[in-house]
Amino acid sequence: MQRQVALVKQSLFDQGYLDEQFMELEDLQDDANPNFVEEVATLYFKDSARLINNIDQALERGSFDFNRLDSYMHQFKGSSTSIGASKVKTECTMFREYCRAGNAEGCLRTFQQLKKEHATLRKKLEHYFQMARQAGPKETARRPK
């Protein structure tokens, strides 16, 4: 089971969903913070869901306030980076580029992509955490040393 967990995790890295930052977070997990990574991930998804919502609304309004969008995205990018959500981060960067270029269409497209990546990551992480929990607390989110 633990091996499976490790495999799942490895695949997340391999597929580029997660990067080294995630590993750093795992390092921070210890007895004092047994579920640290999961907690952070939960926080992240909660926050980012809100941000996505805001951006959605802003885009729907049709008036492309690029500055606003850019600042939302900056925030989003910040937290995605902190958690190591690699693909999401990439999409964020692209979105911001489009914002800076004033490319509304590009923004919309990228945003859809971003939402997709975000949802995918969320599912995968949830799955991962579930497995990890089943595998046993000690083994969860621990990088094989």
Binding site: Q21, E24, L25, D27, L28, A32, N33, F36, E39, V40, L43, Y44, K46, D47, S48, S71, H74, Q75, K77, G78, S79, T81, S82, I83, G84
Partner: protein, 613 residues
């Protein structure tokens, strides 16, 4: 705390260091918190900048270091940085996902001691304790220097005015030299050493004129510089001056009570842009801090009751004068700062200071508005003119003082400034105020030996205005004088603060404000009215006048000292950090050194400011 003690304490130091982490992003905050815990620090987190400020204000000694995100919805991270530096004199580390050098530069100019990029790594956090050590170390160094001076200064203090003046002068010079050295050492390596610019009244007038011409909001250092067309003035000088000015205005507007003329108000409102002055030069460190301090001080000081425009009004109103009088009277602290020779020696005025400045910085701030109003005031009534003049004088002196003070400022001031980017404000105001006072006193007390008294009329007016007006007239000589007093100027800040405090318990904004304000400009919030007003009142009151004049002319120091003491008392009361103590003590020492040359007014306040902040 002695240096040894400090270092001993530091041995265990990194462990348990108290950090306040501010970030609106919950995810990042959580991660940061855990990282910091992993480094064995004691962590407090908040996702709101306002809350962070409250926590910090609640007890300045509760934290050793602040880490703050740059982009926050409720308050700009740089603004928070400024305020923390000014008010609390704590090292602040900026955190951001922006790696843009512009932001990093902004962080530096606003006084951040470090700038980290997200995602933060634990290795980086493991070393952040160095900033706390460094700031303490710098403060200690400052105090050590101050002690040297203090010794020589004491003697001067006891002497007659003349002697004091001389002694002060000597001390000041010596101090200036020391300060310069000190400063150089303490100076942030990244800051370039620029020749100090003395913001004389004339210069300030030009500055204000240029700003007016451009429009306050549109005023950019480069344009101002071009308009001013002054040789040897760099963009950085202007930028830093502008920042102070804005802060000053801001304070004034914040205080509302500033006696500033309407135009001032305008400036004040505009000065809300305090936050992001890009023009910060190396003094920025100081400025933001100071400003913040002033701001708070001003508010506290009591300028509150006077709307910026009201400053002038205040001056004119007999009540104001009366108030000043009351201040001038026995004020244990030596109301006007001049009075307490003995105080000078002791610098323990703290108790005597009525400390209007609940915030501690208020007084100074109050002074600041004056400079702004300079132009406008002049057009208005005499008083106004005077005030403006004073302001302008104050202001320029402020900047110069600041600079000087920075250089010369007694250790305390310098230390504060140097050591902590954030801390600088305190020293800053002090210096400036001192300078201003110097000018002012000179102006006021035509007899002042140091500064040529303003023309008769002016002097009269000045008296009335007490702080502000005289300067313009005598600006030239004053500025010269002023510069020399730079050393003492550091005192001025404290002085100003204290002076203000003592002088006008009721006035709050009194001289202290004046002193400070002038220096700060940037501390727009400071209600110049207060400080200025006090000075005015005192002058008018006559009680001070002669005394102050004498004091001013002869012992700027005294006034300064008084102010300081007051300030200190006032401020000290609020803060009781050991670092603060050190700084304060250094400041006191400075004061006693007799560097008070009028300009010192601010100095006294400075310490208070510092602590208060």
């Amino acid at each position: 705390m002695t240096v040894e003690q400090d270092f001993v304490a530091l041995d265990q130091f990194p462990v348990g260091m108290r950090v306040l982490a501010v970030d609106d992003d919950q995810t990042c905050l959580r991660i940061l918190e855990t990282l910091l815990h992993r480094c064995q620090y004691h962590v407090t987190t908040t996702n709101q900048a306002q809350k962070a400020l409250e926590l910090l204000r609640e007890n300045k000694n509760k934290f050793d270091l602040v880490i703050s995100d740059v982009d926050m919805p409720d308050m700009d991270g740089f603004k928070l940085l400024e305020l923390v530096g000014l008010e609390m004199d704590l090292p602040v580390i900026m955190l951001s996902a922006h790696s843009d050098p512009k932001y990093v530069m902004k962080g530096v100019t606003h006084g951040a001691c470090d700038y980290l990029l997200k995602p933060v790594r634990i290795e980086e956090l493991k070393n952040i304790w160095q900033h706390v050590v460094r700031s303490r170390f710098d403060k200690n160094r400052g105090s050590n220097n101050g002690e040297k001076r203090y010794g020589s200064g004491n003697e001067g203090v006891g002497n007659s005015d003349q002697n004091n003046g001389r002694a002060n002068r000597k001390r000041k010079d010596q101090y200036n030299e020391d300060e310069d050295d000190e400063r150089d050492d303490n100076d942030d390596p990244s800051a370039q050493k620029k020749p100090r610019v003395v913001w004389t009244v004339e210069l300030h007038k030009k500055f204000v004129a240029a700003v007016n011409q451009l429009g306050f909001e549109k005023a950019m250092p480069k344009k101002i510089l071009d308009l001013m067309n002054v040789e040897k003035l760099t963009r950085e000088n202007v930028a830093s001056h502008l920042q102070k000015f804005r802060l000053y205005l801001k304070r004034i507007s914040g205080n509302q009570q500033a006696l500033m003329a309407n135009s001032d108000l305008h400036f004040l409102q505009m000065s809300s842009s305090l936050n992001g002055l890009d023009g910060y030069n190396h003094h920025n460190r100081v400025i933001p801090v100071g400003n913040g301090q002033f701001h708070s001080g001003a508010a506290a000081a009591g300028m509150r009751p006077f709307p910026p425009n009201g400053i002038l009004g205040r001056l004119n109103t007999p009540s104001g004068i009366g108030v000043v009088r009351s201040l001038s009277s026995p004020s244990p602290g030596g109301g006007m700062f001049l009075q307490n020779q003995t105080d000078l020696g002791k610098f323990h005025h703290v108790s005597s200071l009525p400390l209007n400045h609940s915030d501690g910085g208020g007084n100074i701030l109050q002074c600041l508005p004056m400079p702004l109003e300079f132009d406008q005031l002049q057009t208005n009534r005499n008083m106004n003119n005077k005030i403006i003049a004073a302001n302008s004088m104050a202001f320029p002196s402020f900047s110069t003082t600041q600079q000087n003070s920075l250089m010369n400022a007694p250790n305390n001031n310098l230390l504060v400034l140097e050591g902590h980017p954030q801390a600088s404000p305190s020293s800053f105001p002090g210096h400036q105020i001192n300078k201003r006072l110097e000018h002012w006193s000179n102006a006021v007390s035509s007899s002042s030996s140091t500064l040529p008294p303003p023309p008769g009329q002016n002097s009269n007016i000045i008296h009335h205005q007490f702080d502000v007006s005289p300067l313009p007239h005598s600006s030239k000589p004053d500025s010269l004088e002023w510069n020399t007093h730079n050393g003492s100027s550091s005192y001025s800040i404290p002085f100003c603060d204290s002076a203000a405090i003592t002088l006008s318990p009721t006035l709050d904004t009194n001289p202290r404000a004046f002193c400070r304000n002038t220096d700060f400009d940037s501390n727009a919030n400071v209600q110049p009215g207060g400080g200025f007003y006090d000075s005015m009142q005192t002058r008018q009151a006559g009680n001070y006048g002669p005394a102050t004049d004498a004091m001013l002319s002869n012992n700027p120091k005294e006034g300064f000292v008084v102010g300081q003491q007051k300030l200190q008392s006032g401020f000290m009361g609020t803060e009781a950090g050991s670092l603060d103590d050190i700084v304060n003590s250094t400041m006191k020492q400075e004061q006693s050194q007799g560097d008070l040359s009028g300009g010192d007014l601010g100095y006294g306040g400075f310490s208070s400011l510092r602590t208060c902040i």
